[in-house]
């Protein structure tokens, strides 16, 4: 069993489609250009796993990872 689940946005792949922010506003933030990064250290609070999955599976640039640690 994973200790912790974390989202991560690859900044080199992100092109600012902003799907992640729309689907999981608690887990992602956008910079002034609209490019995404994970909120805080990316830890997914319990109950938001489904939103993390949705964000990952809707990113057109495949820039989002859900990491088990």
């Amino acid at each position: 069993m994973a200790e912790r689940l974390r989202v991560h946005v690859d900044p080199d792949k992100c092109q600012g489609h902003a799907r992640c922010k729309a689907l999981a506003p608690e887990l992602f933030e956008l910079d002034e250009y609209g490019n995404a990064h994970e909120a805080g250290d990316g830890t997914i609070p319990p109950g938001l796993e489904d939103k993390a999955w949705l964000a990952k599976s809707n990113c057109p640039e495949i820039a989002i990872d859900v990491i088990e640690e």
Binding site: E32, L54, S57
Partner: protein, 407 residues
């Protein structure tokens, strides 16, 4: 007025796989079975038309090309009969830019189009939609393209640029000349580009003495990475881009969405009962009816999905065809308005992701919400004809609806 001969009509297509033509009436009317046939033949097909042109047919091949800026240039972004020289007068940065000049040009335009910036624009959008609906709601029939979807994005971008919304018909005509007639007629394209440039120059002059807080002033005040003001040709090119890219793309997406809902009462009823599903449905409508097909020019020979492509050819980079690839999307030809996994490519992939995607999404959501609130019952008018635009952007240009419950 012109001594240039009229553009040649294209012979009808008989062999789609080896001789495709995206301006053929059959493609304009119903491209989906054609893409299926092309995809079954090869991940990349070729035509001798348009001075040589490839088309990737799979999502994977489209992604590969969109991400490969070394072999594929964006300096030409429309597949046309001719390839005029590239000059400062016909560029539209950043969409026509390649790395390394692309990134700084794009970054200039991104801040005014973030989701937060779009939220501020939303009340004006709702008002625009309702003003348009007020104009025909008392009637029993309406052309929803001509009276509704057409004017929503044009008024929104005019609002952002700080140019009169009442000039909408002028802008719509330029876009028609550039994106449709311009494929085959160079004169029409040049005329529209010149008129647009003159129009924007007048506004630029006006703002020199009276600065405003709109996008024209924003670009005039912008600095390049050396801290210098942008060249006037850059400001003009970007303004032309914002006007061209912002109008018939979203007009088409809203029109196709209404067309789908007119023909699919179950989806319509579901969205009326559960308006919270509209944002998800919008993504699926964008996938299924993606309006925009961009182009690239092959500048260096390479291989895509195992298919060799040669320099000097254009590429019809069909995001709509990618979105119908069954390898990427189960039941790709079915509209599933609550599709959960939807990495569609309607706004492009890679560095040229549509600058206005957040604006387009907001416009589509608001346009559908306001329409469904006020006009829950509508259907295609069997006495009318739905017509579709040709070429670079696909969407309904005539959308005859009967309003109210069927008798």
């Amino acid at each position: 007025m012109s001594d240039v001969s009229q553009p040649a009509a294209h012979p009808p297509v008989i062999d789609w796989v080896n001789d495709f033509d995206h301006t053929d009436p059959q493609w304009t009317e119903d491209p989906f079975p054609i893409w299926e046939e092309l995809r079954a033949a090869s991940p990349v097909v070729h035509t001798e038309r348009f001075l040589g042109c490839y088309m990737p047919t799979t999502y994977e091949a489209v992604r590969e090309i969109a991400n490969d800026t070394e072999h594929f240039s964006s300096r030409r972004i429309i597949v046309r009969d001719i390839r005029p020289e590239i000059t400062s007068r016909n560029v539209a940065p950043p969409i026509t830019s390649d790395p390394p000049v692309h990134k700084p040009a794009k970054q200039l335009l991104l801040p005014p189009f973030t989701p937060d910036a779009m939220k501020k624009l939303e009340p004006r959008m709702r008002a625009i939609c309702n003003e348009l609906i007020d104009g025909f709601i008392a009637d029993s029939k309406v052309d929803a393209a001509a009276r509704y979807s057409k004017y929503i994005p044009v008024q929104a971008i005019a609002h952002m640029l700080g140019i009169p919304e009442s000039d909408s018909d002028l802008f719509i005509n330029w876009i028609h000349m550039i994106l449709e007639l311009g494929i085959k007629d160079e004169n029409k394209l040049l005329q529209a580009v010149q008129e647009m440039s003159a129009y924007f120059m007048a506004h630029i002059e006006e703002r020199r003495s009276k600065p405003t807080d709109d996008l024209i002033s924003y670009l005039m005040n912008a600095k390049d990475k050396e801290g210098q003001p942008l060249e006037e040709s850059h400001v003009l090119g970007s303004l032309r881009l914002l006007l061209i890219a912002g109008i018939d793309t979203t007009w088409s997406a809203i029109g196709s969405s209404l067309w789908h809902l007119a023909r699919t009462p179950a989806d319509r009823e579901r969205l009326i009962a559960e308006p919270g599903r509209i944002p998800t449905a919008v993504e699926e409508l964008l996938r299924a009816y993606a309006p925009v097909t961009m182009a690239r020019e092959v500048v260096k020979e390479t291989t895509i999905s195992g298919c060799p492509v040669k320099a000097g050819n254009m590429v019809l980079l069909s995001f709509p065809a990618a979105n119908r690839d069954p390898k990427m999307f189960p039941d790709a030809d079915k509209v599933v308005i609550d599709r959960r996994e939807n990495r569609h490519a309607a706004f492009g992939l890679g560095i040229h992701r549509c600058v206005g995607s957040n604006l387009a999404r907001m416009e589509m959501q608001v346009a559908l919400e306001e329409w469904l609130k006020r006009i829950p019952d509508f259907r295609l008018d069997p006495a009318g004809t739905v017509t579709w635009s040709q070429g670079t952007v696909r969407g309904p240009r005539q959308l005859p609806f009967l309003l109210g419950k069927a008798m």
